[in-house]
Subunit: 197 residues, 2 copies
C-alpha cells in the first residue's frame, strides 16, 4: 500500500516544489497544514492565488507592483536610477533605507552561456528612460559575479557617452566580517579601493 493517502501525498509533492524543500521538510509542512484551522488554510491558499493574480511588473521600472506603476516610481526622486538584476534586489536595496531614487529592474543579466544577450534583458527600456531626460546618475547594482560585471560594463559603454554619471556599488570587506576569512579577491579589491581618511 502507498504510505500517504492521496490528498496528503499531493500536498507534500506541492511543497517539494519550493526551493530547498525535500521530502522530510515537505512532510512536516503538510502535517502543520492538516493541524491548522480551516480558516487559516483558506487564507494561505488565497494568499497564493492573490500573489499570482494581483502582482505584476511596473511598466516603468519592472519592479513588482499592484497597479500600473510601483510606489517607488510614483513617489521618489527620478534623477538617480539604481539598476538591478531582479525585483528581489530592489527589496535588498530598500532595506538599507539609504537610497532615495528609483530603480530599473533588468530581469536578468547578460550571460552568453545561457543564451541571454543584451536584447533579452531590459536594457533598451533603460535607454528609453534616459532618452526621456531627467536622469542624472545611473548606479549599477548588478551582482559582483561574471554576468553582473559584464552587464555593468556593457551598460556603462552605452550610458557614459550620453554624458550621464555612471557608478557601481563599492566592493570591499563586509561589515562585521573577519580579515582572516575574507577571500583574496575581495581583500585585493578592498586594498585597491582603499579610502583616504
Amino acid at each position: 500500500m502507498k504510505v500517504f493517502i492521496e490528498p496528503i501525498g499531493r500536498l507534500i509533492n506541492e511543497f517539494t516544489k519550493l526551493p530547498g524543500v525535500g521530502a522530510k521538510t515537505a512532510q512536516r509542512y503538510a502535517y502543520k497544514i492538516i493541524n491548522m484551522p480551516t480558516a487559516e488554510v483558506e487564507a494561505f491558499a488565497e494568499a497564493l492565488l492573490c500573489v499570482k493574480r494581483d502582482v505584476r511588473y511596473c511598466s516603468v521600472c519592472g519592479n513588482f507592483t499592484e497597479g500600473e506603476l510601483c510606489d517607488v516610481c510614483l513617489t521618489r526622486d527620478k534623477s538617480v536610477v539604481c539598476v538591478v538584476k531582479e525585483p528581489k534586489d530592489v527589496i535588498a536595496v530598500e532595506k538599507t533605507h539609504e537610497f532615495k531614487g528609483v530603480y530599473h529592474v533588468l530581469h536578468g543579466t547578460i550571460s552568453p552561456m545561457d543564451n541571454v544577450g543584451p536584447n533579452d534583458i531590459r536594457i533598451k527600456e533603460l535607454l528609453a528612460r534616459i532618452a526621456e531626460g531627467g536622469i542624472e546618475e545611473v548606479i549599477l547594482a548588478t551582482n559582483p559575479d561574471v554576468e553582473g560585471e559584464a552587464t555593468a560594463m556593457y551598460i556603462t559603454s552605452l550610458v557614459k557617452p550620453l554624458g550621464i554619471k555612471v557608478s557601481r556599488l563599492a566592493h570591499g570587506i563586509p561589515i562585521g566580517s573577519d580579515l582572516e576569512y575574507t577571500d583574496e579577491m575581495t581583500l585585493a579589491r578592498a586594498l585597491a579601493d582603499r579610502k583616504v581618511l
Copy 2:
C-alpha cells in the same frame, strides 16, 4: 514606505507559519511562487484546501483517512494492534514495510505538565476495541521519552490483566551508528537487552 507590496508581504507572512520557516526562507518561497506558472500555483492552493476538506480521522484507529475507515483498518490483520502517539508515527512504521497489523493512534501521550491525562487521549477507544475481541497483541510504539514511557506503562497496566500480550519497541543502538557517539542511556539499554546469538 513598506518594503513588500501587500500581496507579497501577505504570502511571506503565511509561509512563516510553517515550522522552521523564518522571514528569509518565506521570502525565497514567495519569489518561487511568483515565478511559477499560474496553473501550478492554482494546483498548490487546491492541494492546501483539499487536505483540510478531504482528510479526516479513521473512526476505528484514528489515523488519517479519506473515507470512514482507513485502508489499514479495511485490509489488514486485526489481531495485532500497534499503538502510536500521532498519525505521522503510523507513516514511520509503515515505511519499514515490516508491520502487517493495524494501528491505534492515541492523538497524544499522558503529560501531567501539559494537563493531558489518560482521559484526554484515545485510551478508552483502545479498550473498547479490545473488548470487542480478536486482538491478541498490543505493541506499544509511543516515543522513548518520559511521556511516551509513562503512557506505555499506563496502557500496560490496563491491558495486561485482560490476558493480552503487550510488547514495547526494542531500545538499542541505531543501525549504522557508532558506539562512540551513542549516549549512555541507550548503550546501557542495549547492554541490558543484549540478544543471545
